[in-house]
Amino acid sequence: MNRHTLARSGAAAVAGTLLLAACSGGTDDGGSDGAADASACEPSDGPVELTYTGWVPGMEDAIALWNEANPDIQVTYNTGPAGNAGTYQDFFNQLEADQAPDLGQIEYDTLPNFRVQDGLVNIADCAGVMDAGEQFVDWTWQQVTFGEEGSVYAIPQDTGPMAMFYRADLFEEAGIEVPTTWDEYAEAAQAIRDEGAYITHFPRTDVNWFAGLVWQAEGRWFENDGEAWTVDLTGPQSTQVADYWQGLIDDGLVKDTAGFSDEWNNELNTGELWTWVSAVWGSNSISSGAPDTAGDWAVAPMPQWEPGANAAGNWGGSSVAVLQGSEHPYEAAQFALWLNTSEESLTALNQGGGLYPATTAGLELPALKEGLEFYGDQAIFDVFADAAAATDPSFTWGPTMAQTYNDVADGFGAALSGQGTLLDALQAGQEATISTLESQSIPVAE
């Protein structure tokens, strides 16, 4: 990968500015490198080998099924770290060097980021893609098409509808009611603190978790009218969510542990943390991180801002995109469709990786109707199915989410150390996002 870039720039350095311009343009107009655009989505002649990078555990099993049935389209899978933990950086570097895999796992919140960097192939004209739209949960299709006619930049894979995991045994022992509203949640937080434990942690690095809460409150961080982006991290709903959690932090009712850390696992495992408002895939995080608590957990809908409401947010969920530079967009799109719509694949992905399908049919998988032993035999996926249906479809992500997350996370970290507030962090994130957009010549509305 390096040699390619180096050789190019080496030649360029000698040959002068003209060559330089041509050279750096190479990554931008992928067409000249043999990458087909949407209008030319034709099958390739002869056998095809595809590369695919993602981080879903058990993906190999689903791919083995495909490879067996499709000897002419063989897929090789590479496992990377979770997106923001390294794979996105790899993709960006690989795109820069024209060395990206044919297919990449990209979460919905990062799709605009890749599109703005011209990293995605529009596969709308590949056979079967447009027709597949109706199979998917509404908001996911909205995310991969960006709400445009004639655009499909990825195939939805899974979603992360949110609900509340809680320690049923501890709530019952202590005689504390399981909260259904955020007000009750704050009261329970105090009661649990009096028991010497914490209701939950405030994860400063999981800004996408916070975004899920804003999503539930019907807040919007970004709007894109085609002319310019509107950035609004500090709207009334975001402010409401930030003030709420700031209150819990100020009263010392939440732990400041970093999410998914060994320390956090330890706190879950020893009963120091009683709840986690999280996405459906969080069920695996708890069962693998806190094995000693098997059977003690249960799942309830997210606490609500209005009593009796049933709004839900979404945290995470991925799509599979065909990356710029792929020589076989047709075959890549066919594979991505099969991977994310066929029952055999969805079953394999749910068993191996706990993926929660993005297709409406997938939500009816037999595996998603069963009770889970770890959760006291509760059929927890029913709760998440309701949440998925109650998720507002129009939430939009910004074009530099990695940066927005970083800047807000820095502010959250400071707020947890007592410097500034969560709202200050959102304000700082807002300003940093706008200046980052401007530095990349991405238009911002005032």
Partner: protein, 311 residues
């Protein structure tokens, strides 16, 4: 260069014939090319070209139309550098590592000097063991060392919870020094070895003369050994300054242990964070400015110390 002069310098005595000399010189030139070219090819490919590429990128900027319009890279002049100089986070991170260096480098080199003098002292037994023991942390990869210390510091996972739960070692006020401790632990032994080899190079007669003059071991260490290893101290000092400005591994690893290490904690983290946007042009400009500052600081340090060290 030096190989060539010594080689040809010896030749006249052996042959004495001018034509032979010139023929031999060309033959040497061939050998020289063979020996030197691989270095220069690798040096150019993996050092000069990347630097040149970074400088080139730092003068580029992106233009696009509409929210998802295709990007075109154009010459941007000093656009990126304007942003570098306007970036509060970058200069704050630089201030942070300078504070770090002012405290950590003298402490570490002082420790390295004391350790080197101890294992050089004729009074100490088991030198080989201590030399290896002090050097061993350097053999631990930086990431592993940082993870290990992260666990030791962490409030609820540490084996020393009595200390870590009452003293916030990973809190905003102390985390910089917690990192300084890791860096010192890793590199003190390495610097000790450099100073120790300088001590080994001191001729025995000097010690003999000192002893005849009635100096004890302490006096010899203070008045003979330390002045003679000052050049080694200067060398390790320059290495340490460069290392401090380039801090990345330890703070990056600590980000998973504490909320106090921001994504712009050190200059190199600023570069890394900028490249994840991804804004390669701005990241390149940060790198170039950081490299220039490192060069200036090392140079100033050398000028200040060299007057004393190499009189």
């Amino acid at each position: 260069m030096s190989t060539q002069t010594t080689a040809t310098g010896r030749d006249p005595g052996a042959t004495g014939q001018p034509p032979g000399r010139s023929r031999r010189r060309t033959r040497h030139a061939g050998a020289l090319t063979v020996l030197v070219v691989p270095f220069f090819v690798l040096f150019t490919l993996f050092y000069l070209v990347p630097i040149g590429y970074a400088v080139f990128r730092s003068f580029r900027t992106v233009e696009r139309e509409g929210t998802f319009g295709p990007a075109t890279e154009v010459f941007g002049g000093l656009t990126q550098y304007e942003q570098v100089f306007a970036s509060e986070a970058f200069w704050a991170s630089l201030g942070r590592v300078l504070l770090f260096g002012v405290v950590q480098v003298p402490v570490m080199l002082g420790l390295a000097l004391v350790l080197a003098l101890l294992i050089d002292s004729p009074l100490v037994r088991g030198k080989r063991f201590y030399r290896l023991a002090f050097f061993a942390p350097y053999a631990v990869p930086g990431v592993i060392a940082a993870i290990m210390w992260g666990f030791l510091y962490s409030p609820s996972l540490s084996p020393f919870t009595a200390v870590t739960s009452s003293v916030p070692l990973l809190g905003g006020g102390l985390v910089l020094w917690a990192i300084a401790n890791v860096v010192t632990w890793v590199y003190a032994g390495y610097n000790m070895l450099i100073i120790y080899s300088a001590l080994q190079a001191i001729p025995g007669e000097i010690y003999e003369a000192a002893r005849i003059d009635g100096a004890g071991q302490l006096r010899i260490a203070w008045s003979v050994k330390i002045p003679l290893v000052v050049p080694a101290l200067v060398l390790t000092g320059v290495f340490s300054i460069i290392g401090t400005l380039q801090l990345l591994t330890e703070p990056q690893v600590f980000r998973s242990f504490t909320t106090s290490v921001s994504s712009t904690f050190t200059p190199n983290l600023v570069v890394y964070t900028t490249s994840t946007v991804p804004n390669f042009n701005l990241a390149a400009a940060f790198s170039v400015v950081l490299a220039l500052l490192t060069f200036v600081l090392s140079f100033v340090f050398l000028r200040l110390t060299q007057r004393k060290a190499f009189q």
